[in-house]
């Protein structure tokens, strides 16, 4: 249970960063931290103590326990998508920096109204 709680604390650190920082790059970094904590949570839930990595070594002996392959598959999909969306946010940050000369989200205020 301690591991789950620590993982959730990592997520909360990310939430705190997204809400309180004013630098666009810091916001992207906080988003990545939130993503990492979600990936780790999924893999933690699928772990079986004493289990092996999900690779078939001996096809006959099926009594060897392996860890759950399904959460790992889903995390593999999600991790690639996370990097793609992050690079999109960073592309937006490049354009905003070229236009305004700053990463401060308070000064990027021409989108208002």
């Amino acid at each position: 249970m301690t591991l789950y709680i620590l993982c959730f604390i990592l997520f909360l650190v990310g939430v705190y960063g997204v809400l309180t920082r004013r630098n666009l790059i810091k916001i992207v970094i906080s988003l990545t931290i939130m993503e990492f904590s979600v990936f780790l949570m999924l893999v933690l839930v699928g772990y079986i103590s004493g289990g092996l990595a999900p690779i078939v070594v001996h096809p006959e002996g099926s009594d060897i326990s392996v860890v759950d392959p399904l959460p790992q598959t889903l995390v593999l999909t999600a991790a690639v998508i996370a990097v793609a969306t992050n690079s999109m946010v960073l592309a937006l940050a490049i354009r905003l920096y070229k236009k305004y000369g700053t990463f401060d989200i308070r000064k990027i205020n021409e989108l208002k109204g």
Binding site: Y4, T32, I81, L92
Partner: protein, 181 residues
């Protein structure tokens, strides 16, 4: 092994806080790299070697992209005294954190304790992946065969993201060119 994981996770939390509170952006990026590579070690310990290898590559790519973005900027964190709006955002974040904690406490009751997961849906995958797909690697067998449509959706999202990066980073639009001259 659980104690080792706890130590790594605590270090990751410290590094995350350091990344958020760093004075310049380069140290923030380095601290974020610490969190990412700590995640890689956690994956190795949790018997997910594939995931660890993919995460190494993705983390390195992310670090390089962020460094390339901030290379031309001032690299300084915006440091201004705490104003009225900051108090609102800080209190809002604390309210949200408390709310999340409340619901997490309710949700964690339904989870099995760490290490005592029971296979439900993937029992069939584990038993029959070698016969049905011919892949000795369970993760790849599930990813490319049983859940191939998910992978197709992933490829769609990747393609859309790449296209939007291209559109956003186009040299310039017509209006911009006019104002430049």
């Amino acid at each position: 092994m659980e104690n080792l994981l706890i130590i790594i996770l605590v270090l990751m939390i410290i590094a995350a806080l350091a990344a958020i509170h760093a004075k310049d952006l380069i140290s923030a990026v380095i601290a974020q790299g610490f969190v990412g590579y700590g995640l890689v070690i956690c994956f190795f310990l949790l018997k997910a070697p594939e995931l660890a290898l993919v995460q190494i590559v993705l983390e390195t790519v992310t670090l390089i992209i962020i460094l390339a973005v901030i290379y031309d900027s001032s690299m300084k964190e915006i440091g201004e005294p705490i104003g009225k709006r900051d108090i609102v955002t800080y209190s809002l974040s604390f309210v949200l954190v408390a709310l999340f904690l409340y619901y997490f406490n309710k949700a964690i009751v339904g989870l099995n304790p760490f290490g005592e997961h029971t296979l439900r849906m993937s029992e069939m995958y584990v038993k029959e992946v070698l016969e049905l797909t011919g892949s000795a690697n369970l993760v790849k067998g599930v990813l490319w065969d049983f859940r191939g449509l998910d992978t197709l959706g992933e490829a769609t999202v990747l393609f859309t993201a790449a296209m939007s990066v291209l559109v956003i980073l186009r040299i310039s639009g017509k209006k911009h060119q006019l104002t430049k001259k």
